[in-house]
């Protein structure tokens, strides 16, 4: 993996004074969103079988990822890792994968790989760069086959240590610009990508549980073939804003981790509300994860108690009920109880959760659309 000297040497890239250039001569596919708005009553759900074929963005992401895997840019074939559903009713999904390392996502080495791969003049580094996504000017979306990425887009980069098929990082293409801990515009783009991919298997994630380099924001996404357990869990509506803002806030019940979900067909409203909540959580030093699902119409918020000793918090897919085990022994004895305990141990206290619920309702209430 990453040697100590390498990390040291690369640290300068991340400092404010780093003269990191924009992409010199990097060319990639560029997908431009169209300006045409989708209707608010454009209901998309898992069960909708009458859709036309896969969307253009879906096709290009899958294709670029498969091509990257085929060329050997990834560390292993994640589809060769066994999956199973745990008995017990919650249908937690576990994967046996001895190559994936949770530390490969948290910590410096991950950032190094991310930004290290964007170093100019290092051809090998651009292997994982699949695509750039940005807002376009035309009505319809378009694909530009080979062009320099614009500064206001998101770069989609294949994760060499995938947790599932199609695992990518979504990173701002303005890498020499330090973003704050929460970039609403980026979140908007990430949600729009989920909407435009229009594939129920495609989920977008955000983790704010790490203490590493807080001034860099990035998202992740991948394709989960099966429903995530949290998506099937029961919910109770705690705020019905359909009439005013189009947003419904619900609490996930009967789930080991306390969580909330925001549902809306209005991406803009969703982005605004969740951004506000994220700011608050961050101000309170509450670790949290986000899961964007159902083609960008649902955002799950998983607030967590940060374990100050281990720094351990669950990643968004773990909050969703998907876990990776390294050894056959652990994989074989994985049980619903064990997994539930992991979740419960990072779950907010009742009082703190009640406060959060009030905050969410108030935020949605205040939202002027």
């Amino acid at each position: 993996m990453v040697s100590a000297t390498k990390v040291e040497g690369e640290y300068s890239f991340l400092s404010k004074n780093s003269p990191l250039d924009q992409f010199e001569g990097v060319k990639t596919h560029l997908y431009r969103f169209g300006t045409e708005q989708h209707g608010n009553d454009n209901i998309r759900s898992f069960a909708c079988a009458d859709q036309g074929g896969p969307s253009l963005l879906d096709t290009i992401i899958l294709s670029q990822w498969d091509g990257s895997a085929w060329k050997g840019h990834l560390d292993y074939d994640v589809t060769s890792c066994k999956l199973k559903v745990i008995e017990g009713g919650r249908n937690f999904v576990v994967q046996l994968n001895d190559k994936w390392n949770s530390f490969s996502l948290k910590g410096y080495d991950k950032f190094f790989e991310l930004f290290g791969c964007l170093k100019p003049n290092c051809m090998k580094s651009y292997e994982g760069l699949l695509l750039c996504v940005a807002q376009g000017e035309k009505d319809r979306p378009e694909v530009v086959p080979s062009t320099s990425p614009p500064k206001d887009g998101l770069l989609l980069i294949a994760n060499a240590y995938p947790v599932e098929y199609g695992h990518i990082f979504l990173v701002s293409s303005a890498i020499n610009q330090l973003s704050c801990s929460w970039d609403k515009r980026m979140f908007g783009l990430a949600t729009k990508i989920a909407s435009e991919v229009n594939n129920a298997a495609f989920r977008v994630f955000f983790d704010n549980g790490t203490s590493v380099v807080p001034d860099r924001m990035f998202f992740q996404a991948c394709y989960f073939a099966n429903p995530l357990p949290v998506e099937s869990a029961s919910t109770v509506t705690i705020y019905d804003g359909k009439a005013r803002s189009g947003i419904i806030v619900s609490e996930i019940v009967d789930y080991p981790l306390k969580a909330l979900v925001f549902t809306s067909n209005n991406i803009k409203a969703l982005v605004n509300v969740v951004s506000e909540i994220s700011f608050s959580l961050h101000d309170n030093s509450t670790a949290y994860s986000l899961l964007i699902s159902n083609n960008g119409t649902k955002v799950f918020v998983f607030p967590q108690v940060k374990n100050l000793v281990t720094g351990y918090s669950l990643s968004a897919w773990e909050c969703g009920g998907y876990f990776v085990y390294h050894t056959k022994f652990d994989f074989d004895k994985a049980s619903e109880t064990e997994i539930s305990n992991k979740m419960t141990s990072v779950s907010l206290q009742d009082g703190a959760f009640e406060d959060l619920k009030h905050l969410c309702c108030a935020t949605v209430d205040d939202l002027v659309m």
Partner: protein, 397 residues
């Protein structure tokens, strides 16, 4: 050589009947197409009395000394002789009766009575839709003498031990003259032939000749709407795909098929609508069949071998292949083949994504390669959530 063109009503009747055996099922062009194929092979019709030969290839004369006209209408046993192993003959008869493929090393006799060893590759030709047996295909590949032999004396001694016939005192020349020796021997003699075994390359030659013939038959079946295959394409025997998988696959617009490597002869278990449009076949015609019906005379053997190797090593490959539609027209196919794994982590299917390079396509700004791999990715996601039995992943018991 028998003369032709005599006024012989009975003979002409028979000729018509024999020709009809083929032209009733295939277009007239099939005879020309078969004439162009190399190798020695026969087509026989089991539904006619005496199970006669209805077609003999151009290569027949070279190998057997018989002109084609001389064997038409006769049963294929005309090629056998006194020393032909009875067990081998019985094996062939049994295969014919059971309507299955058969391969055997057998001693045949030329027109001049000289015996020679051939690899006989027998394959039934079935009507793909109703499984009716139409013809038998008999390919003959001469078996070369073994490259290295023990010293002649020892060989003679061994020979003597194997065969009772009085050849013991004959001083056999060395291996390099073996062929010539056989021809020069007493033509009507019994045995005197050291049994030969077909080599792998001879078996491959038989297979590829058979494949070319099947392709030719397939290409020229358009007029009668027939598609033939070498085994009964039993789509009933193939497990139905789960409805959720069918649904997911049905959304994918590219031209592709899925094959199952766990079933014999790796049959097609799914074909997209786009594939059917591209090739002109109907779903019923091809489900259960191996992809080889797309191949034809222009299809490169090297490319087929490359695909085979990648399949065996569980790797993906993209090849440029010449393939053929049902109507016989060929097209340059940008073909990507890749293993697809299910939730168990093991290979469940192979995907074959086709693209007609010659046709202009509009993929909304995507290159053909990106368009193709998009199908592969979509299928991977669809299959990843399935258990080894093909259904959605459920808690294990």
């Amino acid at each position: 050589m028998e003369s032709s063109g005599e006024a012989d009503p009975a003979g002409q009747d028979q000729d018509r009947r024999l020709a009809a055996s083929l032209t009733a099922r295939y277009s007239d062009w099939v005879l020309e197409a078969l004439d162009e194929l190399p190798g020695c092979f026969l087509l026989t019709d089991p539904s006619l009395a005496g199970h006669p030969i209805v077609y003999a290839s151009r290569g027949l004369a070279t190998l057997t000394g018989y002109a084609r006209r001389e064997v038409l209408g006769r049963n294929a046993r005309v090629l056998q002789g006194a020393a032909t192993d009875r067990a081998a003959v019985a094996g062939v008869r049994e295969a014919v009766r059971a309507q299955r493929a058969h391969q055997v090393d057998i001693l045949n006799y030329r027109r001049d009575g000289s015996p020679h060893w051939v690899l006989l590759h027998l394959a039934p030709v079935f009507h793909a839709a109703d499984g009716r047996l139409l013809h038998f295909l008999a390919v003959q590949v001469p078996i070369a003498a073994a490259a290295r032999r023990p010293p002649c004396r020892a060989a003679a001694a061994m020979f003597a031990a194997c065969r009772e016939e009085a050849r013991v005192d004959e001083d056999f020349p060395c291996a390099s003259h073996a062929g010539k020796v056989f021809v020069d021997m007493d033509k009507r003699g019994l045995g005197a032939e050291e049994p030969r075994v077909a080599s792998d390359s001879e078996k491959e030659k038989a297979m590829s000749t058979a494949n070319s013939i099947f392709s030719a038959l397939n290409r020229y079946s358009k007029l009668t709407g027939l598609v033939v295959c070498g085994k009964r394409c039993d789509s009933v025997g193939i497990q139905a795909l789960s409805s959720s998988l069918n649904l997911s696959l049905g959304r994918i617009k590219q031209s592709f098929v899925l094959t199952d490597p766990h079933l014999p002869d790796m049959p097609i278990i799914y074909a997209s609508d786009a594939f059917l449009s591209l090739t002109g076949y109907s779903r019923e015609e091809i489900l259960g069949c191996n992809c080889r019906f797309l191949n034809g005379p222009g299809t490169s053997m090297e490319v087929l071998e490359e695909i085979n190797q990648h399949i065996c090593s569980e790797q993906a490959c993209t090849v440029d292949q010449l393939n053929y539609r049902k109507d016989g027209s060929s097209f340059r196919d940008l073909l990507h083949v890749s293993p697809i794994r299910d939730a168990s982590g093991k290979v469940a299917f192979h995907i074959w994504v086709h693209l007609d390079v010659g046709t202009k396509h509009d993929f909304n700004g995507l290159t053909p390669e990106v368009w193709q791999l998009g199908a592969v990715g979509a299928v991977r996601v669809a299959v990843r959530g399935l258990s080894a039995s093909g259904s959605l992943l459920r808690p294990s018991q």
